[in-house]
Amino acid sequence: MEEKEEELKLLGTKLSPFSWRIIWVLKLKGIEYDFIEEDLRNKSQLLLSSNPVHKKVPVLIHGGKAIPESIIILLYIEETWLKNPILPNDPYERSQALFWAKFADEKFLPEIEMAFSSTGDDQVKAVELATAALEVLEGEIKGKRFFGGDRIGFVDVVVGWIAYWLEMVEEAACFKVSNSKKFPSLHSWMNNFLEVTVIRENLPSPDDLRIFFHDLRQVKCDSLTQEIK
């Protein structure tokens, strides 16, 4: 197993779950890196030159080579540092992990974003769609300690935000999807996930998150009111 000695930088933001996905996997694999906090209202030259197409974080820069898009970064890390794999060896099991990660990112996450950014009927509709997606995830986690089986894996890291960020998002925007009575298996998973040492020791401050979401919700509601005027 080769040690990759080249310089490793992660451009991200400390409040975004997409950055934390990467941090968790780097920590799980014991990889050293420098974290560079980006101000998204004033993007750095490094970010704009590293991800000229989307101009988004996170971006991993390894020996000067830039890799954007969190899922693609996770796969790159997995294929470059072979210690503590987060994906199964078997191609079929691997395809299933990729499927679930995509499902969560495309069917659940956008609905939560919508619920957070809307009010009234639009919010109700988003909550319904989010709930339906969460029911599917509940079915998938049932009977398992983690999505990855006995140890946390790719899917756990991708959906990990549900165990920590979701509650604060719901509080700030006054809606509730992750009802523990309705989703008992997911709630067990959330506890299991947060108990993993690498995760427990690598989470943003809950107060910072609460303030951030509260302020962001204000901004969203103000702009909605502007639209109506």
Binding site: V53, Y76, T80, F99
Partner: protein
């Protein structure tokens, strides 16, 4: 033990074409099943209960969904002299190929659907602009290479060439000439069709796609 490989597809789907090209590149024998998307088969609903979409690859009874995941599965499962690798072996080049395939899914597909589904007017013009911009970005990525994969046809080539049969429809629906805007892309598309049997066999005829597009627009009431 003989492998049983089944592909559930619809002939118009560029996503299905990707899988057909990949299977052909690897000389995999499979059973093709055409799905009627207005009347989905019990097998499709059973194999892809969550999205109920094609393509679905069923390998010895186990389903794999989502075209890019299927292509990666094919690449990892069939690996021998008959079966050249589709993805590069270097992790950084793999990341690049995945990035651009994701870009195609996000920007090319959505703008094609935008052009297809919108009535003539502002919305369709907006989709046209997005489509041309995406093509230009991809042409820049291609540069002077014969294929996106370099000297050899690979994952990114097959991910994008699947849309080649839709070019005629796009040009005709919104009146522009892709060759004038992106000559290198057209050269590349023609190269894929001429040099790669898997591509020529797997892509539906452009005129048939255009017929389908017109029928769809009539059904949607946008024409």
């Amino acid at each position: 033990m003989a492998d049983e490989v089944v592909l559930l597809n619809a002939w118009v789907s560029p996503f299905g074409s990707r899988v057909r090209i990949a299977l052909d590149e690897k000389s995999v024998e499979y059973q093709y099943r055409e799905e009627n998307l207005q009347d989905k088969s019990p097998l499709l609903l059973q194999m892809n209960p969550i999205h109920k979409k094609i393509p679905v690859l069923i390998h010895n009874g186990k389903p794999i969904c989502e075209s890019l995941a299927i292509v990666q599965y094919i690449d990892e499962t069939w690996k021998d002299d008959k079966a050249p690798p589709l993805l590069p072996s270097d992790p950084y080049q793999r990341a690049q190929a995945r990035f651009w395939a994701d870009y195609i899914d996000k920007k090319v597909f959505s703008s094609v659907m935008g052009i297809l589904r919108s009535p003539k007017g502002e919305e369709q013009e907006k989709a046209k602009k997005e489509f041309i911009e995406a093509l230009k970005v991809l042409e820049e990525e291609l540069g002077d290479k014969p294929y996106f994969g370099g000297d050899n046809f690979g994952f990114l080539d097959l991910s994008f060439v699947a849309f080649y049969s839709w070019f005629y429809s796009m040009e005709t629906l919104v009146h522009f000439d892709i060759e004038a805007e992106c000559p290198k892309l057209i050269e590349w598309g023609k190269r894929c069709m001429e040099k790669k049997e898997s591509v020529a066999k797997s892509l539906p005829d452009s005129l048939k796609i255009y017929d389908f597009a017109l029928q769809m627009r009539k059904k949607l009431g946008v024409d």
